[in-house]
């Protein structure tokens, strides 16, 4: 798998698909360009979840977003999980498949969390090898998301964005650039989030996440339970200037509001993107 793989086209402004919104989506075809689905929610034998996804897929493009790939774990790759993922992708034909640049457990245990990695050459070699293996197995490039982190490791030898940039160079993977996660991690680890954005290769960014978080004074926790705050919208503007038009979703996992509220928030993203891009005169990315 190399960087020569063609970049998927811009698909506009979407939402994370949540079961509470199924009826409204199916009954009213809301004005959402695409849906991001949590891959694991559909790794079930059968029944309504898969049938509903089929109906939604018939009307909207989808992207599959996983939480259990554990690409940075030193445990062996979970081939059962990958087989499930590949099967799901063959059935639902997502525009791309994403997961997180993190690990979720070792020794057969899953902590169901997006755990941080030290930014070392050893970790970079390890993750690069794993990305190659997964991409070869799936037969397509992987898209990886930067996670929010709360601790950093004294042993790190490079900055997070340097690690990510080198990973994309070595593997040809795409990036799901989570603007909120950059904001959260920058606050927690005391760096300028714009420096992060400046360090990311613009041509590898395939998708944006924007979301809300919880401020604990001394640190921020990435809770996805609140509307996007002004600071994150400002950072979104900055990211748009650097990366150009990038397919975007609002990510909400808790305190999920009515679909109409999320569509209103999505319209804010649309307007910010339109205003920012018309000023910066950036061409639509290929």
């Amino acid at each position: 798998m190399s960087q020569s793989a063609q970049k998927p086209e811009f698909i506009g402004f979407g939402l994370g698909l949540r079961p509470t919104h199924y009826p409204e989506i199916l009954d009213h075809d809301p004005s959402v360009d695409w849906f991001e689905v949590i891959s694991e929610n559909y790794m079930v034998p059968g029944g309504q979840p898969l049938q509903i996804l089929e109906r939604i897929r018939a009307r909207y493009p989808i992207v599959m977003h996983g939480v259990s790939l554990s690409i940075a774990s030193t445990a062996a790759l979970n081939m059962d999980y990958l087989a499930n993922l590949k099967g799901l992708a063959e059935r639902f034909e997502p525009r791309w498949i994403s997961d997180h640049l993190c690990w979720t457990g070792v020794h057969g245990v899953n902590l169901h969390d997006l755990l941080p990695i030290p930014y070392t050459q050893e970790a970079l070699d390890h993750v690069s090898d794993r990305v190659h293996q997964v991409q070869d197995y799936l037969g397509r490039p992987l898209t990886l998301e930067n996670v929010s982190s709360y601790v950093s490791f004294g042993r790190s030898e490079m900055l997070e964005w340097e690690f990510i940039a080198e990973l994309t160079r070595r593997t040809g993977c795409w990036l799901l650039f989570d603007v909120n996660n950059v904001y959260v991690s920058a606050f927690n680890h005391e760096y300028d989030p714009k420096q992060f954005i400046d360090g990311i290769p613009a041509d590898r960014v395939l998708q944006f996440h924007v979301a809300g978080h919880s401020h604990m004074d001394t640190h921020i926790i990435d809770t996805h339970d609140a509307p996007v705050c002004d600071d994150v919208w400002d950072l979104y503007r900055y990211a748009l200037k650097r990366f150009g038009p990038v397919s975007t979703i609002i990510e909400r996992d808790d305190e999920i509001p009515p679909l109409a509220d999320l569509i209103d928030e999505l319209d804010v993203a649309r307007k910010i993107a339109a205003d920012t891009l018309s000023k910066s005169k950036t061409a639509v990315n290929a």
Partner: protein
């Protein structure tokens, strides 16, 4: 310096067991101590797993209340660290845990209630399969009926409850106060199934439960009728068997029949 694998083992022990050794690898910020920051992962670990359990066992959560459910869930999490890549399967052993572990094993309605909720979850996303229709049976010649066998739809589960857990479930479902727990003189036999995409259940009369259990093993219709006549009296045993069969088919409990030679 430890390698990445050792560091991840140490981090995992810190989150699951509260081991502090990994703190030596972490750095303070100007605003916060590393131990407080590590606790974000520790707290999230337990909270997330408790949330998985309360989502999958919402009636049990309502029955026990937040505090008691939380205590029970912590016990389960300690005994059963997640070994699954999918949260959907994390809590599948909860009914067994409640039936085997003090003090919950002395409250059998908890295990029954959890088993009912697990069965409802399981049939909801069980494998899809054709649903046998009454019209499918029109091809069977009259003299073929004794040789018929039936296969249960994969979205069915049979439960035996020594308690009135189904009454407790129904009360909680209707947001009413649950009845007092009763240990029933006779085990309540329950079928859990999927109908119109949704999970549902109903208690089975004992002769129907017996016939279902035998039919699910592939016992042919003539033998099922004989068993019913022994079990519930000879009068109209074939008619009763046909009634049960008709109800199973109209509820979507069967996926196919076979005509044995």
């Amino acid at each position: 310096m430890k390698d990445l694998a050792s560091l991840q083992e140490e981090f995992q022990r810190a989150v699951i067991d509260g081991d502090d050794a990994v703190l030596a690898e972490l750095v303070d910020t100007s605003k916060e101590n590393r131990a407080v920051l590590l606790n974000v992962y520790r707290n999230a670990y337990t909270e997330r797993l408790v949330e998985f359990l309360s989502n999958d066992y919402e009636k049990l959560y309502a029955y026990l209340g937040e505090e008691q459910f939380g205590q029970m869930a912590h016990g389960f999490i300690t005994a059963n660290p997640s070994a699954t890549s999918n949260a959907r399967w994390f809590g599948v052993r909860l009914p067994e845990f409640l039936r085997e572990t003090e003090p919950y094993r002395t409250l059998p309605e908890l295990g029954d209630l959890a088993a009912l909720e697990r069965a409802l979850n399981d049939v909801f996303d069980a494998p899809d399969a054709p649903v046998l229709d009454l019209a499918d049976l029109t091809v069977v010649p009259a003299d073929g009926w004794p040789r018929l066998t039936f296969a249960p739809h994969p979205a069915t589960r049979r439960l035996d409850h020594p308690t009135n857990a189904t009454d407790i479930w129904k009360a909680l479902h209707n947001e009413e106060a649950p009845p007092e727990t009763k240990i029933l003189g006779e085990t309540r036999q329950v079928i859990v199934y999927r109908s119109g995409g949704m999970a549902s259940f109903r208690p089975l009369p004992s002769d129907e439960a017996m016939m279902w259990d035998e039919a699910a093993k592939g016992v042919r219709f003539s033998v099922l009728c004989e068993m019913l006549s022994i079990y519930g009296g000879e009068e109209n045993a074939a008619g009763r068997a046909a009634q049960h069969l008709q109800r199973w088919i109209s509820s979507g409990l069967l996926t196919r029949f076979e005509l044995e030679s």
